[in-house]
Symmetry: C2
Subunit: 268 residues, 2 copies
């Protein structure tokens, strides 16, 4: 038993799809969430810049006596892992490993697609990890830079999103991928549309959800679960408390509960 | 005569539409351009955060012995002016004033539309300035949060952009505006599409271009023009030199000339 909270961070709102899953799977856990809304998006920044941000975010989360950190951001996981895990004396999980394991397990024809931000796809980390798990896999990657702004502006089912999504996805469909990694925690909000374009028989792997499954297993194995009935979540953002609060519900699929506070992240 | 350079800054790439016009109108001027690509977009950030960024950007530009600063960003102009002009011992121009003057002069039926980022529209600064110039004007404003990501990803003529642009613009068209302010320096790249949707007879006011006209007038009046035949431009960005260099041509409508360098803007 370990009553310390879990720390989860993302470049902004996307990581809330992971928070949602953690709350479902581990309702007794206290969570400190940090959304770096003052420096979002990470997907178009250089790897060095993202690395600097990741270190500051971890230093901030460490000010709460946390037991486990989830980097609920495809771009930050790609830029910072595994290097960052060696730097800190606390278990740190990214979305990369659990997601790739789930995809390698799910595929039947060995053709796996990866969607992510420009930074994530440029890093080649998903591809590298998948090939390590199974060198027979045929991996096709695609950067989808419009998905984050479309999601953050609520264009979840519009025709404009459909047109852009078709442009991104049809080449992957033609490749015959049967498993598709949604390698950015914003993308699960587009699941219905992506699923419709890709067609039945294509398994979508949700980075945030897989990482939450992985967290549950790890904490259980290590005897680190919190025994309480109902945990609570505290949210911190680096800019725009109001904007975050009003959009959070779309990602959590219910109204946000718990405090939302500002933090000057550049001081960490 | 004054051979010191002009300083121009923007949240990222958009300000290059202003640089382009300054190069056309004032070919003899040396220009130091700063694009805050490490902290773009400004349009969704709080006014306090944008104000902090503006002060750092000006401190950086002041390290070059400059004679004049242009804030080539609708969001930053709205958040920082006129307060920021009182803080510094150098003439600082934003896009707000020249753009509103041009619009107030151009309208025949007194109905003026304003397009901008969320931050710009929320500030109400364009509306305020227009009403001060002519209290009879009827002003309709509209935030267009998808325009910056669409432009930065090259969706200038796609059907997806057309659908989103129609959603933003048709209410303004129904209002009968005959003059439309493009209150963000990214938007001129969508001019052909906006013009087609609004129809003939609607005058589009380009914030970057109007600000360049204003700069020329001011420098001439004050005797601050540079007498040389051909000036040169130096570009600085806070992240992603490569990405900036590859996209700059789209905004400048010609290949970028002059050096592009990194700057750690948070140290200013």
């Amino acid at each position: 038993m370990d009553q310390r909270p879990i720390g989860i961070f993302d470049s902004g709102l996307g990581g809330l799809t992971c928070v949602k899953k953690v709350m479902e799977l581990l309702p007794g856990e206290d969570i400190i969430y940090f959304g770096d809304t003052g420096r979002v998006p990470y997907g178009t920044r250089s790897a060095e810049t993202v690395m600097k941000y990741v270190r500051q975010n971890i230093r901030f989360l460490k000010t709460f006596d946390i037991k486990y950190i989830i980097i609920a951001c495809g771009t930050a996981s790609s830029a910072a892992l595994p290097l960052i895990q060696e730097e800190w004396d606390i278990p740190i999980a990214g979305v990369l490993e659990p997601t790739c394991r789930a995809a390698a397990k799910a595929t039947r024809n060995g053709k796996v697609g990866v969607l992510g931000t420009q930074g994530t796809i440029r890093s080649g980390k998903y591809e590298e990890k998948l090939m390590k798990l199974n060198p027979q896999l045929q991996v096709t990657s695609r950067a989808c830079p419009m998905f984050v702004p479309l999601v953050e502006n609520g264009y979840l089912e519009s025709e404009a999103t459909n047109l852009i999504a078709r442009e991104y996805l049809l080449p992957l469909k033609e490749q015959g991928v049967d498993t598709l990694i949604l390698g950015c925690t914003h993308y699960p909000l587009l699941k219905p549309m992506i699923s419709k374009i890709m067609g039945e028989g294509v398994t979508l792997i949700d980075a945030g959800a897989e990482t939450a499954f992985h967290a549950k297993e790890y904490l259980k194995e290590q005897g680190l679960l919190n025994g309480q009935l109902q945990g609570r979540v505290q949210y911190y953002v680096s800019d725009g408390v109001e904007g975050f609060t009003s959009l959070a519900g779309m990602f959590l699929e219910k109204e946000i509960q718990g405090s939302v506070n500002d933090v000057a992240i550049e001081n960490y």
